[in-house]
Each structure stands twice: as structure tokens, then as C-alpha cells.
């Protein structure tokens, strides 16, 4: 394809550039230096095919992109530590393993501490070129592993921790975690009663808590924007000390969504404001991805059966409005509609 300027395209062609600026689908048009890690034949395929993840698994996708990007940044000198959870179980069904890098699983709640130990060993052996990534789901990160995570942050240990957030304990069959959003149906927050699903006023925002530790780097990312995820991983890998990336990964099984809709749902989550994409350094928010075109939370919620009780038998106006307020608060906090404001001036 000859080099084409964006302005030369027809309106129909422009639609295909929905993700312009992220390059996820536009790799062929980008100069090689700016192409994504996955576009390279030299990608490391950290998780090879044959694992047992469900169709449409956001976590498998997110982990592959995150680890391949980290491996490239570390020039292959990377060790991964994994919390118990879906990622651990589906990647190592006995006697097979999908991992193409040194990988260790110890317990559900100790991945940050185990990673600290690995990093300490590398330091003491003068092998600081070998980098360490720890990873876990939201249960392993925001609940049971939270103490170890905070300890690792507080000591500023040289570990990149990646949380793949699918907003519940999926490995054990969809139970509520502290990352489960209000109103969501899980096996322990059933869609019955006066206020069905998970309650309002609970949960914790671990990316902001990570930021409050004043660690060198914190970011949220999404499988809807894999190029942004790769960029954030690469940025994190250029730094030393404790770093945290919280990746939004839809779970078709747990959310009751179409396997083919994983990327779309992730995009809607950010476009409605419920999952803001931002990054911060040394305790300060330094950037965010603006929302291209704001959508109401309804458009996101309707894609998933875990929220169906908000719309059937009739629309639950009050609780959808409460969710909309959460989204709007995120938009305000991270100034996600700044281009609209700037355009208006």
C-alpha cells in the first residue's frame, strides 16, 4: 500500500482508523520503529499457544502483550512470578507449560514478595540486567495479595507488578473481589433482593493506592488499547524500583459477554469513563488518555449479563445514574474530556 495521508482518505476509509493514535490496527501504515511488539516476527511469544484459557479471555491477551513487551525491553533477561489464579492455572496444565521464560508460581497472596526475593537474588549476584515481573488477577492483587503488594511498593523493590483486572474471582467461579464494581452480579453477590448485585460504597482503587506509595510508575491500561499497554510496559521497564500496571481484562465467562466482544467491551469501559486510562510517576498523575467520544454507561453495561438486572424487567434508573456519577467523577478527576473543553474555547 503506498503511503497515504489521513486527509486523503474517504470517510468510509477513515472509519477504519478508529484507533488512530494507538496504531493497534494500523501497524502496516506505521514506520517500523513505532510498530507494536506483537507486529515483530522477533516477538518472544512469552505465552505460547495451547494454553487452556477460555475463548475471548482478556487476561491471556493482556499477559501476552505485557510480557512480550517486557521481554523486549529487558532483551530477554526477564523472570516472571505469578499469583495463583486463572493465568497460572490455564498456562500450566500438568505436565505442560506455556511459558517461554523462567516462570514461578508460589501462592495466591505472595507474588509481590516472591518477586522481591527474585529481584534481591539477582541484585546480590550482580545480575541486575535480569528484570522481574510479577503478575496476578484482581483477587490476588487487590485482596489476598494486597499486604505483600503494599510492602513491595513501600520498599520500592525493583519489580514491575501487572494486575489483570477482570473484576472478580474467575478461577473459582466468579465470586466478588474488592475490584468488583457496584451492581455487578457475581456468585457471592447474586442478582436478587432489593438492590441486586454488588453494593455501592465498597471496593478499592489500587492504582491510586499504588500512586500514594510514591513509587516511580503507576498506570492503568486496557486490552482495548494494546499499543498503549505495550508503551506503558516499555516505559515501566525503563525505570527501576516498584512499578505497577493495572490492566482491564474482560472475562466473557464471568461477565456473561460475547467472546468476540472482549476488545469492544474493554473499549466501552474506558469510553464511558468507568475505567479511566491514566499514568503517574512519583506520586503524581502525569497523563491520561482522553475519551474520544463519551458514551453513556448504559452502552457498556448492556453488553454484559452481570448487569442485566439493571435493565430487566425495567430500567433501574437510580442505580444506573449512580454508576454514571462514578464514571463522570473519573472523567472529571483525570480530565478525560479536555479536548472537548479546549475545542469549545
Amino acid at each position: 500500500m503506498p503511503h497515504v495521508k489521513l486527509d486523503d482518505l474517504t470517510d468510509q476509509q477513515k472509519v477504519k482508523f478508529y484507533q488512530k493514535g494507538t496504531f493497534t490496527v494500523g501497524n502496516r501504515l506505521v514506520d517500523p520503529d513505532n510498530r507494536g511488539v506483537q507486529a515483530s516476527e522477533a516477538r518472544s511469544n512469552a505465552i505460547t499457544s495451547g494454553h487452556r484459557a477460555c475463548q475471548g479471555c482478556g487476561e491471556a491477551l493482556g499477559a501476552r502483550y505485557a510480557l512480550d513487551a517486557a521481554l523486549r525491553a529487558a532483551e530477554g533477561q526477564l523472570i516472571a512470578v505469578n499469583a495463583t489464579g486463572c493465568l497460572e492455572v490455564f498456562s500450566t496444565p500438568y505436565p505442560e507449560t506455556s511459558w517461554q521464560l523462567p516462570w514461578m508460581h508460589s501462592l495466591f497472596g505472595n507474588a509481590p514478595a516472591v518477586a522481591t526475593g527474585v529481584a534481591a537474588a539477582m541484585k546480590v549476584k550482580g545480575r541486575e540486567n535480569v528484570r522481574v515481573v510479577a503478575q496476578g488477577g484482581d483477587g490476588g492483587t487487590t485482596d489476598i495479595g494486597f499486604g505483600c503488594l503494599s510492602g513491595m511498593f513501600e520498599r520500592n523493590d525493583d519489580v514491575l507488578y501487572v494486575c489483570y483486572d477482570n473484576e472478580a474471582y474467575m478461577n473459582t467461579g466468579v465470586q466478588r473481589s474488592s475490584a468488583t464494581p457496584p451492581t455487578a452480579r457475581t456468585a457471592t453477590t447474586p442478582a436478587v433482593g432489593d438492590a441486586p448485585g454488588n453494593v455501592f460504597g465498597t471496593g478499592k482503587n489500587v492504582p491510586l493506592i499504588a500512586l500514594a506509595h510514591n513509587i516511580p510508575y503507576v498506570a492503568t491500561a486496557s486490552v482495548a488499547d494494546l499499543h498503549d499497554l505495550e508503551r506503558k510496559v516499555q516505559k515501566a521497564m525503563r525505570l527501576r524500583g516498584a512499578r505497577y500496571i493495572h490492566v482491564f481484562v474482560p472475562c466473557p465467562l464471568g461477565w456473561g459477554s460475547d467472546s468476540k466482544a472482549t476488545i469492544k467491551i474493554a473499549r466501552l469501559a474506558s469510553e464511558c469513563g468507568l475505567f479511566p486510562l491514566w499514568e503517574g510517576e512519583d506520586g503524581l498523575v502525569t497523563g491520561s488518555l482522553p475519551i474520544r467520544k463519551k458514551i453513556p454507561v448504559d452502552d457498556y453495561l448492556k453488553t454484559q449479563k452481570r448487569f442485566r438486572h439493571l435493565f430487566e424487567p425495567q430500567r433501574d434508573d437510580a442505580r444506573i445514574a449512580a454508576l454514571q456519577r462514578m464514571a463522570d467523577a473519573n472523567i472529571k478527576r483525570f480530565d478525560l474530556l479536555r479536548h472537548e473543553r479546549e475545542a469549545a474555547i
Binding site: 530477554g76 533477561q77 526477564l78 523472570i79 512470578v81 505469578n82 497460572e88 492455572v89 500450566t92 496444565p93 500438568y94 505436565p95 507449560t97 511459558w99 517461554q100 521464560l101 523462567p102 516462570w103 514461578m104 508460581h105 508460589s106 501462592l107 497472596g109 505472595n110 514478595a113 516472591v114 518477586a115 522481591t116 526475593g117 527474585v118 529481584a119 534481591a120 537474588a121 539477582m122 541484585k123 546480590v124 549476584k125 535480569v130 499486604g147 505483600c148 503494599s150 510492602g151 513501600e154 520498599r155
Partner: protein, 416 residues
């Protein structure tokens, strides 16, 4: 050269001579002085090339140790009591992964009621966790056992707990020999891991194992403990040859030849028991003493040999299985199956209750006369227990037991 030194400090210096590369520190009495001294040795440069990590919990302490050991570093930590329970999940994990971590236990009771004093409940709670458990009789033995522990752990790729009585040993000052660096270097070669996380040869460590192989994995953990029954005496012999002390091994026998009655015990209590039986000897009967320096693996064959002439064995143990009785004595009965020998259980010293020579001697006199119950609680204040039982019978809302007993002490004193 002998020096006057606190047990904890001596252990820290012995550990430092073993050149650990990662030490995880979290405070809990009575172990705290050990990790404090380790930190001092790292800071002063006496222990070089060591990452000293202040963690946020015991669970993290052992988890950091797991990561460091899996990445090929010689790794040490220490804990006690509630701390050991708090890290329980990681205790099983470390042995399941076959990581040769060495951990000191400053033996202490487990609450509630909270109690910081010595007994063996903490180590006993982890007796089936797949770790080798060594018990020190003296501070000199604690020093020596730590040096042996690294050799043992790394030879078998199995974690080792060195158990030493809280306060009685950890806080006691005495004259000890701390082996010098050159001697320890000659005894303990650099750590060669069986498995290591390394980008040059990627492994997956800690993968899931289902019913198709889990039995075999567990059997191999058992087999490793059985191998330790041979390796421990080998290491003891090598240690004795180099350092001239017979610390460690499976057990120590004292006066067991032609002794029909033998007391079996573990840890620092052995010294008091030896004094008690020596004095009793003046009255006539010969009583032997066996002190277990290795509890896991359980040295059944060595015990059968040491107790070959015994017809009555009294196990004095600082732990209790509520609803059953003794723990060490149960293992001993299993070891003596088919042997014509009666085993009595004496529960003693729980929560730091002093075990005195007069109490031991009065118990032994009853035993020699055949008047000792199969399960005996040494120096139990029966009056206090009976008053509380009566109180509980009076009504369902009888109040918190510990507070009731403290009130009882205030009213009746602590005499029976």
C-alpha cells in the same frame, strides 16, 4: 576462641559465617534479637554481599525467601509462634518447591491467650510441613546446628528449621565458640541449587499437579526426609571432625546403658533433666536421658537403638495435642511398636511454666513406683482448674477463661 555472647547474637554470627545472600527480617519475640543482629552484621560490612530485607509480615518474610532461594540465593529468615502460623501457607510451599531455606524458630507458645514464653507448640504445628526440624539443646549446639543446617538443606534441596527455646536459649548469655570464617567456608561449599530461575535455561516452577502425579510428589518429599536420616549423621560426623564438637545428629543419649527407665525430651530441657536424674541416682535408680536433636524426620531406628534396654520411657514434652495428649510421645509409641516398653506422656512447661528439678524428680519417683498416669501434666494447678470448671458448670455465661484464671490467682495465689 570462647566469647561471652547472647544466644541470639551468636546464632546471627553463625548464620553470617554461612554467607547468606538474602536475609528477610520481621520482628517477633523471642526471635527478634537474631534478625536485629543480622542487620547489624550486614550494615557493618561484616556480612558482605547480602540483601537484608525488612518485610511487612512473616508471610512476606518467607515468601521473599522463597523467591530468593528459587533464584539461586542462599537464604535465611527467623520467626516464632504466631509468626510461624502467619507464614504457614508459605512454610508448606517452600518445602513443596524443594527450596533449601534455613529458618530459626525461637520456640514460643501460641495464643490465645497471648503468651510470649517458651514451649514447642509453634514448631509442632508445622511438623508435617515437609521441613527438617532440628532442636538445639544448648546455645553452642544452636550455633553449630545453623552451620550444619545450610549444608543439610542444600544437600537435600529441602528447607530446615533450627528450633531453639525462646528466652531460655535466645536470650541467655554464655561462653560460646563461634567458628571462624575460614573454617565455615571449608565446611560449607557455595550454594549449588538443584533448580534455578534463569533466563538462560527457562523453567516453570510451581506448576499445578493433579491426581496423576501428586501422590508421587508427596512420596518423594517423604523419601527426602528418610534420606535426611542418613545425611544428618554424616554431616554431624564431618562437623565433629572439623570443629571437634558432636553437636547435632539425630539424638543424644545420656546414661542409657542398663537404664530400665529413660526420659525422652527435646531442646534446652535436656540439661535440667540430666541434673534431675543425676541427683536421683544418689537414691538408687538409674534413669537415662535421650534428647532428640532431630524431630523431623523422626529418628525411629536411632530411638529404638537408644532405648533398647528401656522398659519404661517417659516423654517430657513442651507441647499438647488438646483432646489427645502428647505429640512427641505418639511418634515414639509408633517407633517402639512391638517393643516391650511402656511410654508415658508428661506435658510440661507450657507457655514458659518453669520445669524445676524437684518437680521432675517427684514425677520420676512416681513413675519408678509405677504410679504415673499415662498422661500427666507437670505442676498443673488442679485447684485452679477445678474452680474454673465449677464456675463453668454454674452457667453458660461463665466469662473469658484466661481472665477468670487470672482473677483466681489474685484470690487464691498460684499455689495448688
Amino acid at each position: 576462641m570462647l566469647k561471652q555472647i547472647e544466644g541470639s547474637r551468636a546464632v546471627a554470627e553463625a548464620v553470617a559465617r554461612c554467607r547468606p545472600e538474602v536475609i528477610c527480617a520481621y520482628p517477633i519475640s523471642p526471635q527478634t534479637h537474631i534478625v536485629e543482629a543480622c542487620g547489624e552484621l550486614v550494615k557493618s560490612g561484616e556480612l558482605e554481599n547480602c540483601e537484608y530485607i525488612n518485610v511487612e509480615s512473616e508471610f512476606a518474610a518467607l515468601s521473599v525467601a522463597i523467591g530468593a532461594s528459587a533464584a539461586g540465593a542462599r537464604t535465611y529468615t527467623a520467626t516464632a509462634s504466631q509468626g510461624l502460623l502467619f507464614m504457614a501457607e508459605a512454610v508448606y510451599n517452600a518445602s513443596g518447591l524443594g527450596l533449601p531455606i534455613v529458618m530459626t524458630i525461637g520456640n514460643r507458645a501460641i495464643g490465645a491467650p497471648i503468651n510470649i514464653w517458651n514451649d514447642h507448640s509453634d514448631s509442632m504445628s508445622m511438623r508435617d510441613a515437609g521441613w527438617i526440624q532440628l532442636f538445639a539443646e544448648t546455645n553452642q549446639e544452636a550455633v553449630d546446628l545453623h552451620i550444619q543446617a545450610f549444608a543439610l538443606a542444600e544437600k537435600l534441596s529441602c528447607p530446615v528449621m533450627v528450633c531453639m527455646d525462646g528466652f531460655i536459649l535466645t536470650h541467655a548469655y554464655e561462653r560460646l565458640e563461634i567458628p571462624d570464617q575460614a573454617a565455615v567456608d571449608a565446611f560449607l561449599p557455595p550454594f549449588q541449587p538443584r533448580q534455578v530461575l534463569d533466563p538462560a535455561a527457562p523453567y516453570s516452577i510451581g506448576a499445578m499437579v493433579g491426581p496423576e502425579a501428586f501422590m508421587e510428589v508427596r512420596y518423594l518429599a517423604h523419601d527426602k526426609q528418610l534420606q535426611a536420616l542418613d545425611v544428618i549423621p554424616e554431616i554431624q560426623a564431618a562437623f565433629t571432625q572439623q570443629f571437634g564438637r558432636d553437636s547435632g545428629g539425630l539424638l543424644h543419649s545420656y546414661n542409657c546403658e542398663h537404664a530400665a527407665t529413660v526420659v525422652v525430651t527435646m531442646g534446652s530441657l535436656a540439661g535440667t533433666v540430666k541434673d534431675a536424674v543425676d541427683e536421683l541416682r544418689l537414691e538408687g535408680p538409674k534413669v537415662g536421658v535421650v534428647s532428640l536433636s532431630c524431630y523431623r524426620p523422626f529418628p525411629a531406628a536411632a530411638l529404638r537403638e537408644a532405648l533398647a534396654e528401656a522398659r519404661r520411657v517417659i516423654v517430657v514434652e513442651k507441647c499438647l495435642a488438646p483432646g489427645f495428649g502428647g505429640i512427641v510421645s505418639t511418634d515414639l509409641r509408633m517407633a517402639l511398636q512391638g517393643v516391650d516398653c511402656h511410654v508415658k506422656t508428661v506435658i510440661a512447661g507450657l507457655g514458659g511454666r518453669p520445669i524445676t528439678r524437684p518437680s521432675l524428680q517427684s514425677m520420676l519417683r512416681r513413675a519408678l513406683k509405677g504410679e504415673l498416669a499415662d498422661l500427666h501434666f507437670l505442676d498443673l494447678n488442679r485447684g485452679m482448674v477445678d474452680r474454673e470448671l465449677a464456675n463453668q458448670r454454674r452457667g453458660i455465661a461463665s466469662g473469658p477463661i484466661a481472665e477468670n484464671l487470672l482473677k483466681d490467682v489474685a484470690i487464691h495465689g498460684d499455689a495448688d
